[in-house]
Every structure is written in C-alpha cells, then in structure tokens.
C-alpha cells in the first residue's frame, strides 16, 4: 500500500488545491502542498527503514491488472535502484516548494503542478511495467513544460518548447524500443518480469538498445543531445530547475540501467566502449563549456551535463563498484545540484543578477549573503569532488570501479574533475569572495524559510560524505545482483 500512497497522495493534494474555495492565500496553498509532500517523504523514509537489504529483487510489490489487452498493468515495486531516488524525489520537491521565494504568480496552478510532478516521478520510478513507466515518463513533460513556460525567465517560450520537443522525442524513441521489446520477445504483457530478451537476435537487440540509449540519452542528456538543457535550466525558475536537474534527469540514467543494462546485458558489452567514449566526451564538454560561462546558472547547468557523464562512464564499465557508484552519483548529484540551484536562486532573487561580472563579495557577513555564500562554497566543493562531501565518494567509487575496464576514460574523467574545480573556483571567487560593490550592496536579507532547505541539503551532503554507507547500503544489493548476471561478460571485456 505504501507505494500506492506515495503515488496517489500528491494527486489528492492536487484535487484539494484545485477545489479549495476562493479567495485563498498563497501560504495556505503552500502549506497544503508541503503537508502532502512531507507525508510522501516520510513514507519513503519508512520504506527505507523497512527495506530488506538482504533481498536484491524488487520489494513492496503491488499488482493490479489494468488493461490486459495492451499489456498495461498497475504494477509497482522498488529495489535499490529506485528507492534512493524516490526518497530524493520527495526531498527535492519539498526543497523546491521553498525555493521560489515569497511570492508566486498563479499559486493554485503552481502548487498543483508541483504535486503532479512529484507523483509522476514517483510513478516512473516505481512502475514495474514498461508501459506504465512510459506513461509517467511522458506525463512529466506537461507539468514541466508549463512550469518553464509560465514561471520561466525572459526566453521561457523558446526554452519550454525546446524542452517539450526534445523530451517528447525521447519518449517516442523509448516507446518505440519498448514496443519492439515486447513485440519481438513475444511477452504477454509489458510487465517487467515477463520480459525476456535472451531469445532475440543480436541485431534486433542492438537496434532496440540503441533506441533506448538515444531516448534516455536525450533525457540525461548526453552530448550532442543536450541543447535543451542549458536553455531550460536557465530559463526555468530555481524550483523547476531543482526538479529538472535534481531528479528528472536521473530518470534518464535510471532508465538506462533498468531497461538498457538490465534487459540487454549481453548487447551492453558491444555498446559499452562507445558509451564510455560519449560519457567521457560529455564530461569534458560539460566542464569546458562551463568554464566559458558568465551566467552562474548556465555554468551550473553545463556542470550538470558534465557530472551526468561520469554516470554514463560508470554504467558503461558496468562493474559492481562502478554501477554502485553510478547510482550513488545519481543521488549525490541530485542533492548537490539542488543545493547549487537553490542557492543560485537565492542569489538571483536578492541581488537581481546572475552575472559573474557583476556579483562580488557576497561573503560579507553583514551586508552580503554570508550563509548563502558559505553553503555555496560547500556545494561547489562537493560538486568539485572534495573529500568529506558526498560528491567525492560517489565519484571515487565510479573512478575506482571503471578504471579496470576503461582506464583511459577514467583518467580523463579525473582530469575533467580538475576542470570542475576550475570553474567552481571562478564562480566562488567572483560571487562569494572579493569586495561588495557599495553602490549595489543593499540586498534584502535571506529569509529563514529560504535558509532551511539549504541547511537540510548541506547537512545531508556532509553527512553522507562522512558516512557514505547510509547511501550505498540500499543500492549495493541490487547493483551487485545486477552485475552478477553480467559477470561473464565483464570478464570477457577485461580480457580484451
């Protein structure tokens, strides 16, 4: 039942918000939304405590036959791959609610969309039926599209359409792949458990996997399918960006592991070197383009592209360690990115600019934004992979895990993490360090309501950095099991 609750509770919230009698204050709506999301978050924490670490299979399953004619069933379940992401989803939605600032235009629609997004992502992560997954995967587009189109920045129209088109194409490709999988493998339904791809011919498998790769690759995004990302991230409000970058992009890597790696273990080895190459290019590309940016939000957007590349390299290497690292990186990147965008959002709201050439000296303890700057340093360093923070351990596990399979790619990734440090130092030096401009330095204060989300994220980033087993323990059984089915392939690749 818990899974269904997580899925449906936010939708109930949507109804309440939709039919709440007028006139209604923004605060009331926000409190309702917070309440529902908070309950879902608590439920996901409850799941974490109840999760059996000894079982590598899907747990808490729920199954209802829905439209058997097309093989669509109401099938839910979680494993170590999805559970941390479900928790992340709840947490980041909660954070996002508080990162738009005091005033929201059209609050009713806004909060309803928030709840919708939360429910949709949970659905996608819990779905155990390919088609059911796809419904949510596609359903997400509309609320996100509207979020960008209504509450976005200057070029919101352009950005939102670009986002919609790209991700719709992604959905189509994935759909095509899913149809092909069930069709060719002759499964009775789209249920994950029913599908067996072993019998397919190598060529079919290759084509299907490629479709999946491109489909999910757009969502991740991989270079050169990434151009929707900077525009959407920059134009969207911080809240939207947190959800976009923190969790929606993770659906891509999630899908890649769940439907690519898991369904086509033997074909994976064929595409792995190519994937590693694309991953490495993505890593380098993201880092180098980020260095050239003047807009801090755009810089972080490109940094996000780069960081997703590590996950791809890890997935390509597909060792126990690297896959564990990949999932851990999804979570830690989600946390770090959310913190970064939240802080950038605060800075933009308070100072009115995101331009590196105008920002300066925000560390000033009295007239600046000292706490924001301190946490920004923390978040930047976490993203640059400084030990003691969660970003390091995930990246390190990835590096260590991938090195035996793709040593060169791994080394290049390490170099790229040096480049990460370069642009973060540029960012921090310009925004936090230096002297405030006396003409501009009459910024409003950061409210407690804006500080709390940052604190929560920062605490998690630090805590999981020092005690990473609380991150890895949920993931490990599943990824171990996943790799166990691949082991022979690994050995083969390693020998080459």
């Amino acid at each position: 039942m818990t899974l269904s609750l997580i899925l449906w509770l936010p939708l109930i919230g949507v109804l309440i918000i939709g039919f709440f009698p007028n006139p209604v204050k923004t605060n009331t709506l926000r409190n309702i939304t917070t309440l529902f999301i908070f309950i879902t978050l608590c439920l996901s924490i409850y799941l974490l405590t109840q999760f059996n670490l000894g079982i590598s299979k899907i747990q808490f399953t729920e199954y209802l036959t829905w439209i058997p004619q097309i093989g669509l069933n109401y099938s839910l379940g979680v494993d170590g791959l999805s559970l941390p992401l479900i928790f992340l989803n709840g947490l980041l939605t909660l954070i996002a609610i508080y990162s738009i600032g005091e005033k929201v235009e059209r609050p009713r629609l806004y909060y309803a969309l928030m709840l919708l997004i939360n429910s949709g992502i949970s659905g996608a992560l819990m779905a155990d039926n390919l088609l059911f997954f796809l419904i949510f995967y596609e359903l997400e587009l509309i609320p996100f599209y509207l979020m960008i189109a209504i509450w976005g920045g200057e070029k919101k129209g352009y950005a939102s359409i670009k986002f919609l088109l790209y991700t719709a194409v992604s959905g189509l490709l994935v759909l095509a792949a899913f149809l092909g999988i069930t069709w060719f493998s002759g499964s009775a339904s789209f249920d994950y458990a029913d599908i067996n791809t072993m019998a397919l011919s190598a060529n079919t498998k290759f084509i299907l996997l490629t479709l999946l790769l491109i489909g999910f690759g757009i969502k991740i995004p991989l270079v050169p399918l990434h151009t929707w990302l900077p525009d959407s991230y920059v134009e969207a409000s911080p809240a939207t960006t947190i959800l976009l970058g923190g969790i929606l992009a993770k659906l891509g890597t999630y899908g890649l592991i769940r439907f690519g790696l898991q369904l086509f273990p033997d074909t994976w080895k064929l595409v792995a070197p190519g994937l590693a190459l694309i991953g490495t290019i993505t890593v380098l590309y993201g880092a180098l383009v980020a260095i050239a940016q003047r807009d801090i939000k755009r810089m972080i957007a490109y940094s996000s592209i780069g960081h997703m590349g590590y996950i791809l390299v890890a997935c390509a290497a597909a060792t126990e360690l690297s896959l564990l690292g990949a999932v851990a990186q999804m979570v830690s990147h989600g946390l770090i990115l959310a913190l970064l965008f939240h802080l950038v959002g605060i800075i933009e709201r308070k100072t009115g600019t995101r331009d590196l050439d105008q920002l300066n000296g925000l560390m000033n303890p009295i007239r600046g934004l000292p706490l924001t700057s301190a946490l920004l340093i923390g978040a930047g360093m976490a993203s640059a992979g400084i030990p003691g923070l969660v970003g390091f351990i995930s990246e390190f596990i990835i590096f260590q895990g991938s090195f035996i399979i793709f040593p060169i790619a791994t080394l290049i990734c390490i170099i790229a993490s040096g480049l990460t440090a370069v642009y973060f130092v540029i960012l921090l030096n310009r925004t936090c360090f230096g002297k405030l401009n006396n003409k501009l330095a009459y910024y409003p204060q950061v409210l407690l309501l804006e500080k709390i989300p940052a604190f929560v994220l920062a605490t998690l980033i630090l805590f999981l950095g020092i005690q990473p087993q609380y991150l890895t323990r949920w993931i490990e059984p599943t990824t171990d099991h996943l790799i166990a089915t691949l082991t022979p392939i690994n050995v083969e690749i390693a020998q080459k």
């Binding site: 009295i366 007239r367 002297k435």
Partner: protein, 429 residues
C-alpha cells in the same frame, strides 16, 4: 554664503559647494535634521567607550608601564574608574560637561553586566563581552608611527632629546628595581626599552586627548536631548569653541612606581592639547593610519602600500565602511564598541533602514564617518579661526586667504577613496 560670494568670485574647485558652505560657517556635512540626529547620537555612543579608552590608556602609560607580560592591562582598576576627569564634574579645571567626573554610569554598567550576564571582569574579557581597547591602542600606534613624518607639534622630537632619555632612564631603573634580569636586559638593549617608553608616552598623549573629547561629546548629546542644537553647524561650532577652550591643556607623561611619580614628560615642557595631541591625532587617525590588511595587499611587489607615509590615506575619512564586520577591517572593533551604547532614537532609525538591526554595525559605521567629517570640519574651522581671518572679514584679500585654506583642505579629499562625496548623499548608509 552670499556675503562672501559678493566679495570674491565663486570657487572653481571640485568641491566648490562644500567650500562655499564652509565659508558660510557650515560643515562639510550637509545641514539636515537627519544628519544632526545621526551625528549627535553617535557622539553619545562614542563617548562611553572613549571614557574607557582614555582611562585605560592612562592606566597603561602610568601604572602598567613596562610590564613585559601585561595580561591584565585592559582590566581597569577601581582607582582609574574613579579617576576624576579634569574637564568634567565638580572638581574640573574647566567645566565642559555637567555630569560626574568618574566613569559614566552606562560604562560602569557595561563593565559589570556586558551584553550577556553579570560576571567577573575575567569572564567578560574571555567572552569578548568588553570594550575593544585594541582599537584605542591602534590609534595610538598610528600617531606614534606617523609622528615624525607629520612634523606636528614638538612632542615627537622631544622623545629623542637627551632630557627625555634621562627621565626615561630614571623611571626604567626605578621600575625594574630588584629585578636583575630585566635590568641586565636593559643594560644590553637600552634602546629597546626606551622605544617602549616612547610608545607609552603616546599612550599618555592619546589618553589625555580623549579625556577632553569624552565630556565634550557627552555634553553635546545632553544639549541635543534638551533641544539645544538647531542644525549641524551649531554642533560644529560647539566643537570649535571646545577646541579653543581646551587648546592649552597640558600634555605630559607621568609614571607612578611604588606610589612615587616620575615625570617622563613634565607639564612644564609646555606641550599643549591642540598642538601636541589634537592636530597630530586628526592627521594620523582621521587621515592617515595604515591600510587595512583585509583590503590592501602588503606585498611589496604589488605596490599597493604607498612608498611614503604622507601618502597614507586610510583613516575614517577615507575608509570603506561596507566591509566592516569581516576579517581584516580594524574599525569593526570601534563600531562594535559603539553598538553597545546607541541611544534609542538611533536604534529606531537604523531599524527603519537597510536590514534593520542586522546591519546596524555598518549603518552606525557610516554615521560615524559622517560625524567624523563634522569633527574634521570643526578642526578646519578652528584652524581657520586661529590662523586666518573671520568669515565676515571686510578685506577680500583675507577672504581669498581663507578660500585658499579651505581649498587646500578640500584637495585632500580629491582622492577617489575619499568619502566626502558619499556623505553628501543621504542614501549612503
């Protein structure tokens, strides 16, 4: 203003407006009720810690003297809290302030209770719930270090005279009587001890200077509370008169060792408050001091520190107050001292602006900057009165001399970092 302008043509100086204002008997600070309220309020907040500063400076100069490990030099003994101010109270030589001659009740209260809880002096010291004497010492060091280069008064050159060396020698030997280690060290390195005594003489100098300023500021606050000052120039003129009244106050350095007084600089040397303390103080502290380590690089290759002392312009008239509160900005100490004693009307005023209570420290810093521009105006007007001609002089040539004097003074604010332009703007806060 019109009167002067009819006699000589208007100034073409960059700060012509301000010069014309000065010629009309005004201040560099624009004359608005808001400015008046700010500067008087801050004089009050400044006077209380200053009451501590001068007592402690004298205590260090007279009693702590050459203690090599002066851990407790900021622990003012009762004797010095009760020390009678020469210019306040019933025993005053010249009564400037109507209040008592001993330490101000607000100060006593702060020493006992601090911002936290009632506790011993040691607790408050360790908890940093105290007056930041370090800043007073920094002002003293600025006067000492710039002393020779400024060439003001005769105090600095006297420190190198044989008479001074002899007096110091007697006091040093008396102080270390029965301490062969220190006496031996003195024998080896006499100059080291002498240099310390010179510095202590400046402690005394600044202490005696502030002993006068403290009641003057109290008095101004009292007059304002009684509805006394009409505008900024009233406040300035009160200062000008004060400067003249007190100009002849002797500056000396006495040391008390075992109850005996050793006159290192005796009153009979004729050093006066105006020439040997006030003018050097204004030059060294308001104008020069030294660059804040948090804003300028001391790296010799970067050439950010000027080559000559006369080019140092980092005092309160030039300082950027915005970084106050961050590392490497010494005036923070003073701002913090004043924060404890803000009058209610200033607190309310700050509450209404910028970030309210949260950035009071910077707001009051900028107020302080305004008020020090007013004090500097008073000094400039006093100098004009002493050395030049009345503002209503009939002789255009004399007025021209006055004009040249004012222009020369304003020239010092042509530097880009001078805040004269900023304080003209009421939104600079």
């Amino acid at each position: 203003m019109t009167q002067t302008l009819t006699k000589i043509s208007p100034s073409n100086h960059e700060f012509a407006d301000i010069i014309h204002r000065l010629e009309a008997g005004g201040s560099m600070l624009p004359d608005t009720p808001e400015n008046l309220m700010q500067i008087i309020g801050i004089y009050k907040a400044y006077a209380v810690p200053m009451d501590f500063y001068w007592r402690d400076l004298l205590y260090i100069a007279e009693k702590v003297f050459l203690n090599p490990l002066p851990f407790f030099k900021y622990f003012l003994p009762q004797e010095y809290l009760d020390l009678k101010n020469h210019y306040a109270g019933d025993t005053a030589d010249l009564r400037v302030w109507r209040g008592c001659a001993e330490a101000h009740p607000e100060l006593i209260n702060f020493i006992e209770k601090g911002e936290t809880i009632k506790g011993s002096k040691l607790f408050h010291h360790l908890w940093h719930d105290r007056i930041n004497m370090e800043f007073a010492e920094a002002c003293m060091r600025a006067m000492y270090w710039h002393g020779r280069d400024m060439g003001m008064g005769k105090f600095d050159s006297y420190l190198d005279s044989d008479e001074y060396k002899h007096n110091a020698d007697v006091a040093i030997k008396a102080y270390f009587k029965g301490n062969p280690a220190m006496l031996g060290l003195y024998k080896l390195f006499p100059e080291m001890f002498l240099e310390q005594v010179r510095q202590l003489s400046y402690y005394s100098n600044l202490g005696l200077f502030w002993e006068v300023m403290c009641p003057v500021f109290y008095e101004m606050s009292d007059i304002y509370d009684e509805g006394g000052f009409k505008d900024v120039s009233d406040a300035m003129n009160f200062l000008v008169n004060g400067i003249f009244a007190i100009a002849g106050r002797p500056i000396y350095h006495h040391v008390y060792i075992d109850g005996k007084c050793y006159e290192i600089i005796s009153k009979s040397k004729g050093f006066t408050w105006l020439y040997e303390a006030a003018l050097p103080y204004v030059e060294a502290v308001f104008y020069r001091t030294s660059p804040f380590r948090g804003t300028k690089s001391y790296n010799a290759q970067a050439k950010q520190v000027p080559e000559h002392q006369k080019d140092f312009h980092y005092g309160i008239l030039y300082a950027d107050v915005f970084p106050v509160g961050s590392a490497g900005i010494p005036p923070t100490l003073l701002m913090d001292d004043m924060l404890h004693f803000l009058p209610d009307y200033l607190k309310e005023y700050y509450q209404k602006n910028c970030r309210g209570e949260d950035d009071q420290l910077i707001q009051l810093g900028i107020t302080f900057q305004r008020s020090m521009y007013n004090v500097t105006s008073a000094v400039i007007q006093a100098l004009r009165t002493a050395l030049l001609y009345p503002l209503d002089d009939e002789n255009p040539k004399h007025l021209m001399k006055n004009r040249q004097f004012f222009e020369a003074q304003m020239d010092r604010f042509k530097r880009p970092e001078a805040r004269l332009k900023d304080i003209q703007n009421p939104d600079y806060r």
